[in-house]
Amino acid sequence: MSQARAQDIARPPERLDDEALLAQVAEGEQLALRRLIDRHGRGLRLFAGRYLGGSDEAEDVVQDVFISVWKNAKRFDRSKGRATTWIYRIAANRCIDVRRWRKFRTFIGFEEAHERFPSLDPDADAWMGARQELAIVRAGLDKLPERQRMALLLRAIADLDVPAIADVMGASAGSIEQLLVRARRTLRAQLFETEASETQDERKTR
């Protein structure tokens, strides 16, 4: 074992960055994979959950992502991008596959045609409290076109910047900017409509 590697392992786990952890995963260290799951499991779960709308499928997707990371960590090239981007790209592709498979099942009649967007948790709405704007945002997200939703979720949950989102989605930075602008505009319009109708209702009651 090299001296540098020994120093890496001796460092506290929190201080290792994702790239270093991936390098360890590529060498077959399960502990490094556990740390990656600890760091990104939640983000990927929230992303897949909101994008797919089905909690079971989202769980499976996230598991598949980390199994894929375990198998393909050697392929990660640090010079081509950040580890976070690489991991989220695997997740995004897997989510797209799941949606395509769902559409195919719907087409051949194995699944009902309605879009499935239940809460991530049965009590999630209650858990979020009475904040109506969150409910509007959730509903608005579900109605957005898939690519707009994906771009917005990558921005909001994974905190990726526009070039990183472009890298994940395999698109140009300009087109991602457009997707984000359109998605934000749609959500804002929905929020504004609700606020306006509430104000009208209040005036009527007075």
């Binding site: 201080r15 399960q30 799951i37 598991q63 945002v137």
Partner: protein
């Protein structure tokens, strides 16, 4: 997020909130921003709303257990053979099937091709109204003489 959870994350990922993984960093930012009165930009505010709308309880320990269990499983062997098929196996199988179908088609065409001139000509003759009895004689004659109908 409350103060206790924030401190727990600090112990888990270090003091520097900016270096935390994305969802935890966002949650911490939201928690810290609750004390601040300065309004964020419109886009930032919307992103915070989106993030809040997606927040749900997750269990990273259970996820890690499931992933580790799957990794620990022995590799699946195809037909009991001691070879592990890679991601190329599906396209390779499809290509082999296509090759076999093409070769079968060519062989069938070659095997049946010897009489195709006769059958084409018989069809043409039938189309112009030659009776079937004459047609059969004509074909037999052509075969015997090696000539055309």
């Amino acid at each position: 997020m409350n103060r206790g959870e924030f401190e727990g994350l600090k112990a888990r990922f270090g003091d520097d909130v900016a270096s935390w993984p994305a969802p935890f960093r966002r949650e911490a930012m939201l928690f810290l921003a609750a004390d601040r009165s300065a309004p964020a930009s419109q886009d930032e505010r919307l992103e915070h709303l989106i993030f809040e709308a997606t927040i749900a309880p997750t269990d990273e320990c259970a996820l890690a257990r499931s992933v580790m269990a799957k990794i620990a499983q022995p590799k699946h062997r195809t037909l009991g053979l001691p070879i592990a098929l890679g991601p190329w196996s599906m396209p390779a199988t499809a290509a082999c099937m296509a090759f076999v179908l093409t070769v079968s088609g060519i062989c069938g065409y070659l095997a049946g091709g010897a009489d195709r001139e006769n059958s084409d000509e018989a069809l043409l003759a039938f189309a112009v109204g030659v009776p079937p009895s004459e047609l059969a004689e004509g074909i037999a004659g052509t075969r015997n003489e090696g000539g055309r109908l």
